[in-house]
């Protein structure tokens, strides 16, 4: 059994240029906490079983939002697109090229993608 959330985080950390970018849960920052210059957020929307054998689940789907926020608009536009093949190489399913997400701070913009993983039990 693997920890899919850890797999997601570890895959992002493997890229040297992103090694110092914090990776935190969406919604976990305090109101008065300062945004880092560049960072990822994630949220596990749900997990659900899609296959069963002998009354036991054999495949579980994990559904995540993965977002990237930055003071650099060029990075906002490129990082998740660069993350896509890295995640796919680790077995994640990543559809599309992402969507804009809202930032609490005027200094940052952000984009998000939906990432799923089918865990074979």
């Amino acid at each position: 059994m693997i920890n899919v959330k850890d797999l997601l985080i570890d895959t992002l950390k493997e890229k040297e240029e992103w090694a110092d970018f914090p990776i935190i849960q969406q919604g976990s920052m305090a109101d008065d906490e300062e945004y880092p210059p560049h960072f990822f957020t994630f949220f596990n929307n749900e997990s659900y079983d899609i296959a069963f054998y002998d009354n036991d689940e054999t495949r579980t789907v994990w559904d995540f939002d993965l977002n990237f926020y930055s003071i650099d608009p060029a990075l906002v536009n490129s990082v998740l697109r660069e993350a896509k093949p890295l995640l796919k190489a680790k077995g994640f399913i990543v559809g599309g090229a992402g969507y804009d997400v809202i930032s609490d701070e005027e200094t940052h913009t952000g984009r998000g993608i939906n990432v799923t993983y089918v865990e074979i039990l």
Binding site: Q26, M29, F43, N45, D63, D65, S103
Partner: protein, 142 residues
């Protein structure tokens, strides 16, 4: 509005049978999509806590209520149909739905609203609804 495509297996056979029975496929598909829209919009409305006594934070007030009701109607372009579900983004309160559905680093998303539109249970209910509508056409003229 939410942009998503859902591919279900098995509908191809049903559509072929409906076509062989002489029914208009576009009429059948249109009905399936419109009932799907009603299903998703009802779930979105309920999850947004519009009604008094819902016991939840009332996100959907004013413009956001309007954004639920303003979604695009069914439209055919050749053999491809599209229909709006969720929140109409250009509508006044529609953009607020992005806060609610995706959150921010400092605001957690509302999973009830998100799942009403994009959750696996909703996708399963959509499949069930569409199968139900298509089966109606299979039973006409039997």
């Amino acid at each position: 509005m939410a942009r998503m495509s859902i591919v279900y297996e098995g509908f191809g056979d049903m559509l072929e049978r409906i076509d062989r029975m002489g029914h208009d496929l576009k009429v059948a598909a249109s009905e399936a999509l419109e009932e799907t829209q009603q299903l998703v919009q009802a779930k979105t409305t309920a999850a947004s806590g519009i009604y008094a006594g819902a016991g939840r934070k009332g996100y959907a007030t004013g413009d956001m209520v309007g954004a639920i009701g303003a979604v695009d109607p069914l439209e055919w372009a050749g053999d491809v149909a599209t229909i709006g579900v969720g929140f109409k983004l250009p509508a006044g309160g529609g953009w607020h739905s992005i806060f609610i559905m995706y959150g921010t680093p400092k605001i957690a998303k509302d999973t009830a609203v998100y799942n009403a539109i994009r959750g696996s249970a909703t996708k399963a209910q959509i499949a069930q609804k569409q199968e139900e509508v298509l089966k109606r056409y299979l039973s006409i003229g039997d």
